[in-house]
Symmetry: C2
Subunit: 314 residues, 2 copies
């Protein structure tokens, strides 16, 4: 599969439609006034499993042949992709094997099990994760579904920006946070196809700015000991996502931890929606770089809403 076409993104949207929510686009005058811009929030925090990840996972699972599907799917993740793949597999009636570090939060392990996934715990090291994953694939024949460095996943994630751009016309900028780059790549593709003059701007925590440094230097830099509260954005971009980002993304801006938390709190307080720290990164970046965004009409992908309510950053 080469770079997903608009037609392929539209097919993915049709394929996943019976299983995913068409999430609302919300606006807030108070947030607009705060930054003197017009913001349109595509609320994937209201997506099933609480995150956009369910779009890509569903597209991947539904794209399998019956023979492939029969052997199940596997991945390693302690985040939203784990739960998303488990539910997508259960919806198709197939097995999912989710490799998680034994240090993962109990609530996340229970989440995966609740969606019908089989959890395999391993030591919290890269080596253990990869060898456990190889073992499972060998033993079961399950297909490995990478959380972001996978064109079928990217095509699925692109359907959020497809809906946003179809619902809200004439956006001057579309923003998404960047971690591994699956959401960002898909967002960039869909946006450019539907509106070639719209800028696609990624937002990244300063404390995990590998994509920013890669993008600015023109060569891949990996994430080293990132320390951001935006725990969905700890990973580095991949072999597939980084070239897509180089080609289709206009700019990457960074944001301090302080502004991520401020953006998250403003969104909770004024929009009355629960977003996870990673989802506050684009609005935080606007707060921090006002002149770049002033007066613009901006679409923002809110990536998810999975937060530990007993452990809030204020």
């Amino acid at each position: 599969m080469s770079i997903p076409t608009l037609e392929e993104i539209r097919q993915a949207a049709l394929r996943i439609k019976p299983f995913v929510h068409r999430t609302p686009v919300l606006t807030c005058q108070t947030l607009n006034r705060m930054v003197d811009a017009e913001l349109f929030f595509k609320c994937e925090n209201f997506q099933k499993v609480g995150a956009f990840k369910f779009r890509g996972a569903t597209n991947a699972v539904l794209s399998l042949t019956d023979a492939e599907a029969g052997k199940g799917v596997c991945t390693h993740s302690s985040g939203n992709h784990a739960q998303a793949l488990a539910l997508a597999a259960t919806n198709r009636g197939i097995k999912s094997y989710i490799i998680m570090p034994r240090t993962a939060a109990r609530v996340k392990i229970d989440g995966v099990k609740g969606y019908g996934g089989e959890v395999i715990l391993c030591e919290p090291t890269l080596h253990a994760r990869e060898s456990t994953s190889a073992d499972i694939q060998k033993k079961t024949g399950a297909l490995f579904i990478h959380p972001y460095d996978n064109l079928i996943i990217i095509t699925g994630q692109a359907t959020a920006a497809l809906e946003l751009n179809e619902e809200v016309k004439n956006l001057e900028i579309v923003m998404a946070p960047v971690g591994g780059g699956g959401l960002l790549s898909g967002t960039a593709l869909a946006t450019r196809y539907l509106s070639s003059t719209t800028q696609v701007i990624a937002a990244e925590p300063k404390e995990a700015d590998d994509a920013y440094r890669s993008f600015k230097s023109g060569s891949f830099v990996s994430s080293e000991n990132p320390t951001t509260i935006a725990d969905g954005l700890l990973t580095s971009t991949g072999e597939i996502t980084f070239p897509l980002i180089q080609k289709y993304v206009t700019d990457i801006v960074t944001v301090t931890e302080e502004n991520i938390v401020a953006a998250m709190k403003h969104t909770w307080e004024r929009m009355k929606i629960i977003i996870e720290p990673s989802s506050a990164v684009p609005f935080g970046a606007i707060l921090e770089n006002r002149s770049q965004f002033k007066g613009k009409r901006i679409g923002i992908i809110i990536s998810g809403g999975n937060v530990d309510l007993a452990n809030l950053p204020w």
Copy 2:
């Protein structure tokens, strides 16, 4: 003005339309499964000022003649009605005088001022509140707008249920929390007009069950030292709202503090929306009285989302 007609509720909806949000109706499979019913949440937490109160206040302010409006409006409230009336008045370009106890939270006083209201602080007693209010009315000629015991306010609040019943057909039950009864009266009228077989069921905290006791005994009982977390529901029903409730409401059910908090937490965690404790009372009542609601198709008015994020009940 006698009991608001359907035509008057429709006129109110048109009158306030340029100023209020048409709020979304959200659903959640997980919450449905939890109680084995089909729930449709009308999200007035997304309303301007964060609460349904803005509908009634806007209807009241826009219904004034120019001569009346020129003298401004006043009320006493430390809750959502205070901010709602301030913004509604500012939107019409008129003055609002909001009498608040000097013990009110700083954030609420600042909120009213932020919406353009003039705050008059008084001692936190009924006598001080009423004498200060009388003084202001005498001095300014401002019209007093009662938070709930006022037919124009009730007609405005009815527009939320009007939208809900028009958007979601064949509801078997529509629920709203009950405090003073303005939202409940409006909800009952609109629902009965549009769907005469739909039951209207109010939910009330056990720790502030004056409406329940009034309804069951058939004669008005006032609220005495209520101690519920649902701080929007501390007031008693009024001379106008209680007879409307007696005539148009099917039943009132009560709920423990424990189930109010559980319902609030489930809603935050699974629906990713911020609702205030008062808004969790109907779902809490369903959790507590499952057999009454099992298998039903139920509309619920989420009354508001104004919560102190630094002081959550878990």
